[in-house]
């Protein structure tokens, strides 16, 4: 009989880490990415300038950083802006965005779907519908294929 039949710790070893041919993504210095400016976005929301807040929150996406806090904070901020829109204004807001911003918005929307809270799914679904008509399925494909995302 083999020596060690009691412990099954070996099953939890991540063998991929020891594979010398493992595919590693290119490292892109993202340590300085801080995500959208919280103060700026908050003040724009308070002023009622929601379109401006949307533009501001889609700036500086924390794509390259490995810091999960920065990403969570950015996601929370985006959710706050998206929830403060009235349903009727969503379509116009999405129309005002350029292609790259629509792709980025879709990334945040799907990130938001991952952790649903009280009312977030309804809001996100409304935004998803409008973003889909603006960006098409290609936009969603880019969310799925992006190696580095928000």
């Amino acid at each position: 009989m083999s020596k060690n039949t009691v412990s099954d710790r070996f099953r939890k070893v991540d063998v991929d880490e020891y594979d010398e041919n493992k595919f590693v993504d290119e490292e892109d210095g993202g340590e300085n990415q801080m995500g959208p400016d919280e103060a700026e976005v908050d003040s724009l929301i308070r002023q009622g300038s929601l379109m401006g807040a949307l533009q501001a929150v889609l700036k500086n996406p924390p794509i390259n950083t490995k810091n999960q806090n920065v990403k969570d904070r950015a996601e929370g901020l985006v959710l706050k802006v998206l929830s403060s829109f009235k349903s009727a204004d969503i379509e116009k807001a999405v129309q005002s965005l350029d292609k790259n911003s629509v792709d980025l918005l879709m990334k945040y929307i799907y990130k938001g779907f991952e952790r649903p809270s009280e009312n977030s799914s309804t809001v996100l679904l409304q935004w998803h519908e409008k973003a889909l008509s603006a960006g098409g399925v290609g936009c969603i494909v880019r969310v799925l294929t992006a190696r580095k995302t928000v």
């Binding site: 290119e26 792709d103 290609g138 936009c139 494909v141 294929t145 992006a146």
Partner: protein, 361 residues
């Protein structure tokens, strides 16, 4: 455009003979069928059965009339027609993973084979020993090579791979050819040298294609985008993201017009005039006008009852192809002015499309 269905199985790949009277296709199996055209019908005349794995690539050299096939069984065979029968010759590609794609070079004295072994095998015939030899290109490739295309100078080779990179290599084999002259991609071309590399193409690079002059290189990747690299203009890369499902195959039909098709089951036309000037032109499959017959009230309520919708039954796609297009191929016309091109797809159909250059419309 004309459509012909070769059965229910998806068509993995296809290749035409020189005068386009015969077509070699593989119906997602380890066999290649050769069909002969007679009128509007296609009749099967040959079956090439030597591979033990699913055939992943077929290419037919028009001048020398040789067929090269590659499969997931890690082998490639070169077939020559002797006395009306296709005879296979094994090629020693020396790969330890499946082959994914194969292409004859423009002068048909060698061919390139992409594989899952993270390398490209460039094979040529050595007369002394009467066999096919191969040389490997490995530099920088970190994952499966998904697509290949030769530059018209018979030396440069573009490769798209699953490591999200698109590269141009030199496949210069000094035993069989002269040293090539300088090109916009570079002037020093030792075998295996990387002359151009674009990282982060956004997704797996499904297909690459050189323009007829070889000056620009187009590729499509899995993030639903098409990109063009401009050799003479500093190898600058221009991207265009599309709103559709990813494209799987791309070909140049003139020096500036590109046709690409993929999971949307429909070919699209793009045009590239210069850096930052890559634009979508139009959809090339005009959907047939579906005859909307008037529905009786009875049908209306029956639909509502059975399917909870009053819309008409949409079982068929509006496009000619009913499933993703896997490969495009030039049929008629010189590379600079393609008149017809063909597409095969997962629906088992082959469609021949006519291309009208925009200036004539």
């Amino acid at each position: 455009m004309s459509i012909y269905t070769f059965g229910l199985e998806p068509l993995s790949c296809h290749a035409w003979n020189k005068d386009r009277t015969q077509i070699a296709i593989s119906p997602n199996s380890n066999v290649v069928h050769i069909y002969q055209k007679s009128g509007k019908e296609w009749n099967k005349i040959h079956e090439l059965t030597e591979h033990s794995g699913r055939i992943t690539g077929v290419d037919w050299a028009p001048e020398t009339n040789r067929i090269v096939t590659c499969a997931s069984d890690r082998n490639a065979y070169v077939w020559t027609l002797k006395d009306g029968v296709w005879k296979p010759t094994l090629v020693l590609v020396r790969i330890n993973r499946a082959a994914t794609c194969v292409k004859w070079s423009p002068m048909e004295n060698k061919f390139a084979l992409g594989s899952g072994a993270k390398l490209i095998s460039v094979c040529y015939f050595e007369k002394e020993n009467d066999w096919w030899l191969s040389k490997h290109i490995k530099k920088g490739i970190c994952s499966t090579v998904l697509s290949l295309d030769w530059h018209p100078n018979n030396v440069l080779l573009a490769a798209g791979s699953a490591d999200l990179h698109c590269r141009v290599f030199s496949a210069y084999i000094k035993d069989i050819e002269e040293k090539p002259g300088p090109t916009p991609w570079g002037s020093k071309m030792p075998f295996g040298e990387v002359l151009f590399e674009h990282k982060e193409c956004g997704g797996w690079v499904h297909s690459v294609s050189f323009s007829p002059s070889g000056d620009t290189l187009a590729w499509v990747s899995h993030n639903s985008s098409i990109s063009v690299a401009d050799g003479p203009r500093g190898k600058q890369v221009t991207h265009l993201t599309t709103d559709n499902l990813p494209l799987m195959s791309v070909i140049y039909v003139t020096e500036n017009d590109i046709v690409a098709a993929g999971h949307d089951c429909c070919p699209y036309q793009f045009s590239y005039i210069g850096p930052e000037a890559l634009g979508f032109v139009k959809k090339l499959d005009v959907p047939k006008q579906s005859s909307k017959g008037s529905m009786s009230a009875m049908q209306h309520f029956r639909n509502l009852d059975k399917k909870a919708t009053t819309e008409e039954d949409h079982n068929e796609m509006e496009t000619l192809h009913q499933n993703s297009i896997t490969q495009l191929c030039i049929v008629e016309g010189p590379k600079t002015n393609v008149e017809k091109y063909s597409s095969v797809g997962l629906d088992g159909a082959m469609v021949v499309w006519t291309f009208k250059p925009s200036s004539l419309q």
